[in-house]
Subunit: 218 residues, 2 copies
DNA sequence: GTCTATAAACAGATAGAC
DNA sequence: GTCTATCTGTTTATAGAC
């Protein structure tokens, strides 16, 4: 049986998860059938129940896949000691924003990952709990800490936490509103040049906000 | 003509659309069954096919409902002449941000409306075209024009258009990421007090960005 | 216009051969 | 582990009574 993909149980698991990620991202959880996923993964329907216990188990496995994938990108954020100098903290935040928006707009895997999280936010499931604890909460907390160093403010104050959320919101918006943005910007395609323009705009907003924070609360 | 009666055909149409909006927003298009919609609307399954031709027709009818509903809110944005003074333009943008975020977070109808648009962005259908032309494009263009007055920059320059998108992104993020935000902010509920905190943060970011724009490009 | 009953296609889960 | 065949329930669409 030549299927064009590696054999073995582990390869099958991976193939199913990746096929499910594509389906869930493009059409949603309920709209993506197990038969469709199995066919896309080059296997049969029963293997989904065998490997994941059912469709819900597959959804959880996708969440773990998302965490592992995004964790690799964001580990650079969580790793290492907190910057001690405001200027360095500011540069670190800028770098994270640029790296994050580049990943979200250019990496082909990012599309399904972001879409998966977005759908979990609309229809919360146990998978969202997992993603929140392993991904969203630690990253947000670390970003708040860095923001605190950059501005001299209390990192866990409501306003700093909200400002960090607003910054994240800007970034992810450019991912999921892509069809509207491309149309309004007259961008036939969204390549590195366009991403740099977006990153420049987001960095400018970030810098303006950080500077304002430092001025008003020294 | 005999209309406005609670039991007429028009009332049935409205009830079905509103029930469908709730279902589509909470669980998605595919996951919401026609039986469930009919039951929620207090009618039977067959009436959906009778009034809308089928489930797809109901989806288009929901898009028109969204446009009509948001049109009422956004007419306040589009109405009147453009401000001529930078300070007034700045105040106008601030007011729009505050009104928009308050609407998105407090109005019960806004939740399903925003969620419907969000799902259209993930799974584009003919409804998205309609919403873009009638709603998103005019509002964004008007916001860019006001931004131009407030900062003295070219309203249709790529960076202004992107900055306006970023501002919009911040706002809508607080709508769809609500479960994550409530959890991280330790907010058991999201009422007027919490919305004001969000609005303050967004207004601060807006002001910082506008001031930076005016300084660097007088 | 509203509703019941039904049709035809679909879903996810599973038993059992290999 | 992989797969076919099948079970059970649900979906949308529709025919026809009222």
């Amino acid at each position: 049986m030549a299927r064009g993909r590696p054999k073995g149980a582990d390869a099958t698991r991976t193939a199913i998860v990746e096929a499910a990620m594509r389906g869930f991202a493009e059409k949603g959880f309920a709209a993506t059938g197990t038969r469709e996923i199995a066919a896309l993964a080059g296997t049969n329907v029963a293997s989904i129940a065998y490997h994941f216990g059912g469709k819900d188990g597959l959804r959880l496995a996708c969440a773990e896949h998302v965490i592992a994938l995004m964790g690799g990108v964001l580990d650079q954020v969580r790793q290492g000691d907190l910057p001690s100098d405001p200027a360095i903290a500011r540069a670190a935040l800028t770098a994270v924003v640029r790296r994050f928006v580049t990943f979200l707009l250019l990496d082909p895997q990012a599309r399904s990952v972001a879409s998966f999280i977005l759908r979990e936010l609309s229809e919360p499931s146990p998978a969202l709990d997992l993603i929140y604890r392993a991904l969203l909460e630690p990253v947000h907390r670390r970003a708040c800490a860095t923001w605190g160093v950059a501005t001299g403010r209390d990192p866990e104050s409501p306003d700093v936490r909200l400002a960090v959320f607003a910054t994240i919101g800007q970034i992810v918006y450019f991912n999921f509103a892509r069809p509207v943005i491309q149309r309004r910007m007259d961008w036939p395609s969204l390549g590195p040049a366009e991403v740099e323009a977006v990153a420049d705009t987001l960095a400018a907003t970030l810098h303006a906000r950080l500077d304002a924070d430092r001025e008003h609360r020294p």
